[in-house]
Symmetry: C2
Subunit: 411 residues, 2 copies
C-alpha cells in the first residue's frame, strides 16, 4: 500500500491510500484514523512512500500470563467494524483479534480474565447467514466446554439476529455468551470498541448463563447495557447506544470501572453438557406487510418451498384481507405462518378485531411480543424439530428463551 | 341483533351478541362497552330480547348552527377503530361519522369550528390500498377548495403510510390536513377517540398547511402531539401514545384545553389552487432485508414488473453481497432501488463501508433518514413522474415534503 500526499487548492493531506470501488474517487486514511474521499478531478496526487502494514509479529505467551485467580474468557472474532482496522489494511500480517492487537487496544481485559482470542472468520455482518451461525454456534460450544465464558465480536448490522439464533440453539448453557461490536471503527478517535470489549469480557466472567448483547448504554464512555439476545434490536444506524432492549428492561449494567449491576435474578444452572442443537429449518422468510403488498409474493414463497413465513404485520397483527386466500393455500400445503408486529414495541393481539380473529381461524400463529427478528430465528429452530402444526403452535407460543415477556395484554 | 344472558358457573353476563368468526365462540358486548368472548362449551345462553341498534335518526341542521366567527372543518370518515362502534353493530342505521354521533361523543368540537362530517368509506386500515388513497386525496382536495381544514379519521394500523402518501400527492396545500384515529374503540371507557378528535379539529383551524398526524402525546388524556405526516410511525401495538415522530421533533402540542404550542415556524403559503397529483406508479415494493434472504425474491419482483423496490437494509444501509447480482440485473432492466434502514432511527450512510459504496456504485439510491414507509409512498410519487434514473435519483434525494431531516451525517 502506498503512502500519498494530496494537494487540493491550498490544502495538503497525507495518508495511506485505501481501496476504492469508484474509479474517479481516491480514499485516504489520515494519520488520525479518519478516512477522507476525494474526487480525482482537480487534485494533485503524489506517492511519498510505501506503507508496510501492521506487520510486527509478537509471540503470544498466554501460558506465562495465566493467573489461577482469574476466569477464562474466549474472544471469538467474526469480523465487523470492531475488527475494521484490518479490513482496511489488506496485506496486514496479524488478524484483528490477535492477542497483540487486543493487548494494544484494551490491556485492562488481561487483568480481569485469562483471554483466549480465536478468529472464526472475517465478514461484515450484513453477510451473515445460517451456515455461519452454525459455525459460530459450534465454536462457542467448544469454548464453553473448555470452561471459558465467551465474547463474540460481531458486526452490528445483524448482531441481534445472531444473538437470538444462538439463544435458541445453544442448549444447557452454563457460562455467558456475550455478543459485542462497534459502531465506530477501532482506529478512530470516537471508537466505542474499547469499552464494549472491556464490559463484555467483564460480563463473561459472571454466572449469567445466557446469550446476551453488551453495548454502550449511552452516548458516553461510562457504561454498557447487557440485553437478552432475544429481546434486543439495533434501533439506530450510527449511535453508540443503538442497541436497546424492547418490551423489557436490560439484564444488567456494566460500568467502565468494572461494577456490574443486575436488574434480574441469575438464571438457574443447567444439568448436562452444553451442546449446539443443529436441527434447523433454513427455509423461513421474514415478510414485512404494507398497503399495496400483493398476494403473489406469498404464492411465490409457497412455490419456492418455504416452510415458514414470519409476517411482520401492522398494528396488533393484521394483514390486508386480500392476502387471506394465499395464506390459506399456504397453510393447506403445510407452510406455517407466524404473526409479529412492525410496530416493534408492544404485543400482538389477534382477538381485538374480527380481522385478527379471522387470521387466527385460518391458522396464523400469534407470537405475543416476540420481535420479528427473534421470531424468524425461533421459527428456524422450531421447524427443525417438528412438522406438526399443533406442536409448532405450542412451541412458538411457549417461552423457550425469554423471547416472550410475561405480561397481561393491555388492550 | 340479540340481547343475551350467559351463565357460566356462578357468574351471569348480559349484553349484545356480536358477530364472531369462530363458531365455537360467542362474543358479548357488555353494557360498559367491553367485549368478552366465551367458549360455547359449558355455558348457558339465553336470549332475553332484541337489540334495535343505534337507530335514532336526527335531522342535522348545519346551517342553523353556522357561526361566522368559526373556521370550517371537514371531518372525513374512512373507518377504523375510531368508528368501531358501528363496526360491531351491523344493521345500525347511521354512520360513525354522522353529526349526531360526533355531537354525542365530542360536543366541544362544535364550539371551536363549523363541522362538516363526510364518510368516504368504512374499512379497517390494514385494508388500505393505493386506490383508496387516491379516493381520500381527491376528497380532501374538494373540501380544501371549499375553504375547510380537514380531519381524516383513520384506522391506526396504516395511518402513517396514508399520511406520507398524502404529503407527497397533495400539492399547494393551504389548509391543514390532520389524520387521527383511536387505539381503543369509542364505546370503551378507556377510549382515546374523544381527545384525539378534539385536538385534531382544533389543529385543523390553524394555518399549518401540511399533512400531519395528531394523536395522544402521553398515556394520559392531557395533550396530543402533532407529527409531520412523513416523519411519523406507529411504534407500539396498543398504547395511546403509539405514534411518534422519528428523527425529528413533533410539529406542535395541542392541549385538551385547546392551547396549541408550535415547535416550528408556520410553513409559507402556496400560490395557486390545491390539487391532487395523480401521477402515481403503483408497482413499488417495500422489502425488508434479513440474514438468509434469497436473491430469488428480487428476481421475482423484477419479473413481476415492479418499477421500484425500497430496500429496508441493515445498519447504515446494507444488504448481503449475494443480492448484488440480482440488484444489478434489476437496475439494468430499469428497476429503481432505494435504500432505507430497518434501524428506523438514524440516517443511511453508504460511504462508511466498502459494501455501501459498492451498492451505490451499482446505482442503489441512499435515502438519508427517510422512513421506509415514507420512502415507499415517495417512490410511488416520484416514479409516477419520471422513468429517468438521474431524475429519479435527484428527486428521491431532494427534500420534497419534509421527509429528509436536514442534518449533518453523524458517523
Amino acid at each position: 500500500m502506498k503512502r500519498i500526499r494530496i494537494r487540493k487548492g491550498d490544502h495538503i493531506y497525507e495518508g495511506i491510500e485505501m481501496p476504492s470501488v469508484e474509479e474517479d474517487y481516491i480514499v485516504l486514511k489520515l494519520d488520525n484514523g479518519y478516512n477522507i474521499g476525494f474526487r480525482r478531478e482537480g487534485i494533485d496526487i503524489e506517492v511519498i512512500g510505501e506503507f508496510e502494514g501492521y506487520s510486527k509479529k509478537i509471540e503470544w505467551k498466554a501460558e506465562t500470563k495465566y493467573r489461577k485467580d482469574l476466569k477464562d474468557v474466549a474472544i471469538l472474532g467474526t469480523g465487523g467494524t470492531i475488527a475494521s482496522k484490518i479490513d482496511y489494511t489488506t496485506g496486514a500480517v496479524y488478524p484483528a483479534f490477535s492477542p497483540e492487537e487486543l493487548e494494544a487496544m484494551v490491556p485492562e481485559i488481561f487483568e480481569i480474565a485469562n483471554i483466549y482470542p480465536r478468529e472464526i472468520f472475517q465478514i461484515l455482518s450484513e453477510n451473515m447467514d445460517v451456515d455461519k451461525w452454525i459455525k459460530i454456534g459450534k465454536t462457542v460450544v467448544e469454548e464453553i466446554n473448555r470452561g471459558r465464558g465467551v465474547v463474540i465480536a460481531h458486526g452490528t448490522d445483524t448482531m441481534h439476529y445472531t444473538a437470538s439464533f444462538l439463544s435458541f440453539t445453544l442448549k444447557n448453557l452454563n457460562l455467558p455468551v456475550v455478543l459485542t461490536g462497534s459502531q465506530r471503527s477501532s482506529d478512530r478517535p470516537s471508537s466505542d470498541s474499547k469499552m464494549n470489549i472491556y464490559c463484555s469480557v467483564k460480563f463473561a466472567t459472571t454466572d449469567y448463563n445466557r446469550v446476551v448483547v453488551c453495548m454502550h448504554g449511552s452516548m458516553e464512555d461510562t457504561f454498557c447495557y447487557v440485553h437478552r439476545g432475544v429481546k434486543v434490536r439495533k434501533n439506530h444506524t450510527s449511535r453508540r447506544d443503538a442497541f436497546q432492549s424492547v418490551n423489557t428492561k436490560p439484564v444488567a449494567r456494566v460500568s467502565y470501572d468494572g461494577k456490574i449491576e443486575f436488574f434480574e435474578d441469575l438464571p438457574e444452572k443447567h444439568e448436562g453438557k452444553t451442546y449446539f442443537d443443529d436441527r434447523i429449518e433454513k427455509k423461513v422468510f421474514l415478510l414485512k406487510v404494507f398497503p399495496g403488498i400483493s398476494p403473489e409474493i406469498i404464492d411465490f414463497l409457497i412455490d419456492e418451498g418455504y416452510k415458514g413465513i414470519v409476517l411482520e404485520g401492522t398494528g396488533l397483527g393484521h394483514v390486508p384481507s386480500f392476502l387471506y386466500d394465499s395464506i390459506k393455500k399456504g397453510i393447506e400445503r403445510g407452510v406455517t405462518f407466524c404473526m409479529t408486529s412492525q410496530c416493534i414495541n408492544g404485543r400482538v393481539n389477534m382477538n381485538v378485531y374480527q380481522t385478527g380473529r379471522k387470521l387466527k381461524a385460518l391458522g396464523v400463529i400469534p407470537c405475543e411480543d416476540i420481535l420479528p427478528e427473534a421470531c424468524y430465528t425461533k421459527m428456524m429452530h422450531v421447524l427443525g424439530h417438528t412438522e406438526e402444526y399443533s406442536e409448532i403452535k405450542r412451541l412458538m407460543r411457549m417461552n423457550l428463551s425469554g423471547e416472550i415477556t410475561k405480561d397481561t395484554v393491555i388492550l
